[in-house]
């Protein structure tokens, strides 16, 4: 059985001494994790459990002519073999509800699920898969998103049909997916001002085309799920979802049952990074098998499956035009992108929502137009991934900013400062930057990275004959830092109780995904209640216990769940101080909580020991406990249909300066140093925030230099860690991070969200640094030795925007 994740701090029982804010607080779950005691989903086994495996398509695009499961069903130890025919009640899943968990009439990519087996062991399940015979009739394969827009392109989503030629989703079912008339999965358009007028007022216009590649999350813990039904038909799911409450509802819809009958327990998660924001077919399939067999069913991926069948960051072709006055003031910006959606629609299709914010509002741009089309292909499909489109948008915008600066003859720092946002600004898109440290970030990163001097010195060495060049580049970013109201509510609930011994149980809707949220939430509660971290237990992983939260995304947990936890703690504090006031006669306002006691605010003199005071309330004739609840809803707005509105309660900013060494003989680029300055509002847990930023920087390094999911004609060429290159320990750069504390008025203790920010700038800053080193601009990621070598030796093809309107 999974344990409730209820831990106390490794800090021991030292009484709190002063504020914990800004200190280096070890993560509460670290001792268990470092000793291998933590039970991830892979480590959990339920009595009577069966093991499931999925048969995936061996074709990229084909009609399913027949599926023969007889031999697999006859194999001893096999309890069920299912295909779409066995679950006629299945419903499409995903953001556009265009994806049936088990495919009916056709497969659209290599990952497609055709059949699934539940057996006594993984080995038997695998053997059974080998006995299933599928006959395909190949269809034309479409893997180029530009070709997908052609009028005569093969259709990826015609109306689905069953083997009998009839509609594969039976009439009368709640969702009747009728297919798509063309290959356009989603279009998102945004406009502000008058781009033509902006262009007319420009002294200079620059146009660039950029190409962004496939990368994938590579969570060290592979995907997995355990599904179990009780005799009454209630579903218990052990799942690593980042959005348990949204999924509870989706699984209920899938089964056509009341969401109250779905319980999700989240065991500790072996990495998330956005990968677990959507439902993927393996989860419904495990549920189908559990329902059909009446047994708990566990389904865990292999690493190869993880590469083939989990979502990717979305590959994007992007055209960007901007203009400015001769003084370097931006006049307009126009962006068009083509997203390769892959065969189905997940959150990847909605990343323009974030991309357009960077395009419209990272700098002041009076006139702006943005358009994305996401098109279906027979490639792997794209999901959400830390940064959510912002790595792509920032790569383009910030490389382009350097191009504009150079064309103007202004240094990149001055050009950015000239166009940077200030506190108080309300952008045409409706974002209100109540705090904004962008200019401080720019100046601090430039100064600590010795940017201007190095930038000039490196350029002077372009033709000095040395084959190894040094370069320095900068990039800035804007990202939501106070949640993102993409649903009608962006809130989080907290239940807080204090027991007879002044031990606090903090029950929060916010999921811990390794980022350290439970520690920072406990810390915020301790700050209110004057208690040591060891006095708090956090419960955060069971939808039957925890109050609602929208999920772990948009760098929102510290901000939203933090404010929620503070709200609950303040209510408890009010109750305690009112009680103390009634007993000692001092006004409640003159009292405070510190070091486990009620104290006089003015002098610090101890009035009551907290535990004793609480017991005196409990064991009195008016017997009461200290139990509070709080729901925090940030003062942000759901954007209108034009994508305008103040979507976040705060915005995070950063500038990163990257220094590279380019070996012109080999094309090898080494990231030497990253100097970052991050507007984080306020540092809460210094150890935690450093960890988030360092990890993000190295993830950005992988995006820029080493990681590349090689998808060729729909085949994934490198579904393994040997050929998909994650950055390893010897390759990391020197990292210097400064925190710009803008003390956000809405943030918990002044803090903003920071989870996604550090990964966002690196690729752009590295591109600018390679240019600074060599005078050659790369516009396609990643900067592998081969690509860099070709560019340096004049063998790179310039990118063209040849996308039909």
């Amino acid at each position: 059985m999974a344990e409730l994740r209820a831990k106390t701090s490794p800090q021991g029982s030292d009484p709190a001494r002063g504020s914990l804010i800004g200190k280096r607080i070890p993560k509460m779950d670290a001792p268990d994790k470092a000793s291998g005691r933590t039970r991830y989903i892979h480590d959990i086994n339920l009595p009577g459990q069966l093991h499931a495996k999925i048969l995936r398509s061996s074709e990229r695009h084909a009609k399913i002519v027949s599926i023969d499961t007889r031999a697999a069903k006859a194999l001893p130890g096999v309890h069920a073999v299912i295909t779409a025919a066995d679950v006629p009640w299945q419903r499409p899943i995903g953001v556009a509800k265009d994806h049936l968990p088990l495919k009916t009439d056709r497969v659209r990519s290599l990952r497609d699920e055709i059949a699934a087996v539940a057996a006594d062991s993984v080995e038997i399940a695998e053997e059974a898969l080998g006995l299933i015979r599928v006959d395909y009739a190949p269809l034309p394969v479409l893997t180029d998103p530009v070709a997908a827009l052609a009028p005569d392109a093969p259709r990826i989503h015609p109306a689905p049909q069953g083997a009998d030629g009839g509609p594969s989703l039976k009439p009368g079912l709640p969702v009747a997916y009728t297919g798509k008339p063309d290959n356009v999965a989603m279009v998102m358009e945004y406009a502000q001002g008058d781009v033509a007028a902006g262009e007319a007022g420009s002294a200079l216009v620059v146009e660039d085309v950029f190409r962004l590649h496939y990368v994938t999350h590579c969570c060290l813990g592979v995907s997995g799920v355990i599904a179990e039904f009780d005799p009454s038909g209630n579903l218990l799911l052990y799942s690593n979802t980042q959005v348990p409450f949204l999924h509870k509802r989706e699984f209920a819809e899938l089964l056509d049952i009341d969401p109250g009958r779905v319980r999700i327990i989240q065991p500790p998660i072996g990495g998330g990074f956005g990968s677990k924001l959507d439902i993927y077919p393996f989860e419904p399939i495990a549920i189908f098998l559990a329902k059909i067999t009446g047994r708990p069913v566990k389904l865990v991926f292999t690493r190869e499956e993880e590469f083939l069948a989990s979502p990717t960051r979305q590959p994007v072709l992007l055209k960007l035009r901007s203009g400015c006055t001769k003084d370097g003031v931006l006049t307009f910006r126009e962006v068009e992108t083509l997203h390769d959606n892959g065969a189905y629609t997940s959150w990847g299709a909605t990343t323009p929502f974030v991309m357009m914010q960077t395009v419209s509002s990272l700098y002041r741009v009076p006139h702006c137009r943005y358009r994305t089309r996401a098109v279906y292909t027979n490639n792997p499909y794209a999901g959400s991934f830390r940064g959510y489109g912002n790595l792509q948008a920032t790569f383009a915008v910030e490389a382009h900013m350097d191009r504009l600066a150079e064309a103007l003859g202004i240094d990149p720092l001055e050009f950015r400062l000239k166009n940077a946002q200030d506190p108080g600004e309300v952008t045409p898109q409706g974002m209100h930057f109540k705090t904004c440290g962008l200019k401080d970030c720019l100046r601090t990163a430039a100064e600590r990275g010795d940017f201007l001097r190095k930038h000039a010195a490196n350029r002077a060495r372009w033709s000095d004959g040395d084959p190894v060049k040094r370069g320095v580049g900068m990039a800035s970013m804007l990202h939501v830092g106070g949640g993102a109201k993409i649903y009608p509510s962006d809130g989080c609930g907290t239940i807080l109780k204090i027991d007879d011994f002044a031990h606090v149980t903090l029950i929060t809707g916010a999921s811990e995904i390794g980022q350290g949220s439970e520690t920072v939430l406990a810390q915020l509660v301790c700050e209110e209640l004057g208690l040591p971290l060891s006095a708090v237990t956090v419960v955060n992983n069971d939808t039957d216990i925890t109050p609602w939260d929208v999920g772990v995304h948009a760098s929102r947990t510290t901000f939203i769940a933090g404010n929620s936890a503070i709200g609950a703690a303040r209510k408890a504090k009010d109750k305690i101080l009112a009680l103390a006031s009634s007993k000692c006669g001092d006004a409640a306002e003159a009292l405070d909580l510190a070091e486990g006691c009620v104290v006089k605010k003015a002098t610090g003199e101890r009035v009551f020991e907290l535990a004793k005071l609480i017991r005196s309330l409990h064991f009195s004739d008016k017997a009461e406990l200290v139990m509070t609840t709080h729901y925090y809803e940030p003062p942000s707005v759901h954007q209108d249909k034009q994508f305008k509105g103040d979507v976040s309660a705060a915005y995070a900013w950063a500038t990163q300066v990257c220094e590279v060494e380019v070996d012109t003989r080999t094309g090898i680029v080494r990231l030497v140093k990253v100097t970052g300055a991050h507007d984080v509002g306020r540092v809460l847990n210094r150890l935690g925030i450093e960890g988030q930023i360092e990890g993000g920087i190295v993830m950005g390094q992988g995006y820029a230099l080493t990681e590349n999911l090689m998808v060729e004609d729909g085949w994934v060429r490198n579904p393994n860690f040997r050929d998909y290159k994650l950055v390893t320990a010897p390759e990391i750069p020197e990292i210097d991070v400064s925190f710009i504390e803008t003390m956000d008025g809405e943030g918990p203790q002044g803090a903003k969200g920071v989870g996604e920010a550090p990964a966002i700038c690196i690729a752009a800053a590295v591109a600018n640094a390679i240019y600074n080193a060599t005078g050659v601009r790369l516009t396609s990621l990643p900067f592998t030795p081969e690509r860099v070598y070709r560019a340096l030796h004049g063998a790179a093809q310039p990118l063209e925007w040849n996308v039909p309107q």
Binding site: P10, G22, P26, K27, D29, A30, P31, D32, K33, A34, S35, G36, R37, T38, R39, Y40, H42, D43, C218, C219, L220, G221, V222, I269, G270, G271, T302, R303, D440, T444, R448, I513, G514, Q515, G516, V683, R686, L687, E690, G691, E694, G695, G696, V698, M699, N720, F721, R722, L726, T728, A729, P730, I732, I735, V737, S738, I740, E741, T742, M743
Partner: protein, 171 residues
């Protein structure tokens, strides 16, 4: 039924007998047969280091070793490393230096770091970086892991590492 092989070996200092199928890996045996789940499956092909164990004092990827080949060997897993003074020092350093985020790679890196310090008690930073290059971590960016191993090494030498100071500004 496929043939099974009876083996005997030392596991974390205690004699152990097991009956395993010829194709069973040491990783599967540890996790599924014996029930020691601190050793993790990350890739199954020796590329990520999440299943690092010590066999006769040398680190190997348990996913690449047949269980049958444990016969007669001395095997130590994260559970055994924990019980040693060096394992304790490493755990404390990993916790205090923030070297743990999702934690999935951590046991493998702990075992690798234990072996590194065993074979090179005076490892400098570059040696530590080289020493753990076979272990992938997606969360931390390795910096705090390297700092933690260096701190554990300093503790072994009787020194306390100096905390790095960082600049904080108010805007």
């Amino acid at each position: 039924m496929p043939a099974r092989i009876d083996i005997a070996f030392r596991l974390n200092g205690v004699g152990k007998r097991a009956s395993v199928a010829p194709e069973t890996s040491a990783l599967e045996m540890l996790r599924e047969v014996i029930g020691l789940t601190g050793t993790k499956y990350g890739c199954g092909e020796g590329e990520c280091g999440a299943c690092t164990i010590l066999v006769d004092g040398v680190t190997i990827n348990a996913c690449l070793m047949f269980a049958a080949d444990c016969d007669g060997r001395d095997v130590m897993t994260i559970e055994g490393v924990n019980a040693t003074p060096r394992g304790e020092a490493l755990r404390r350093a990993f916790v205090e230096h923030g070297a743990v985020q999702c934690g999935f790679c951590t046991p493998g890196i702990m075992v690798q770091a234990w072996h590194l310090l065993e074979s090179n008690p005076h490892a400098d930073q570059a040696t530590i970086q080289r020493g753990i290059e076979g272990n992938l971590c997606r969360c931390t960016g390795y910096k705090k892991i390297i700092e933690a191993v260096a701190a554990a090494e300093a503790v072994e030498r009787g020194q306390t590492p100096v905390e790095q100071s960082r600049e904080v500004q108010r805007g």
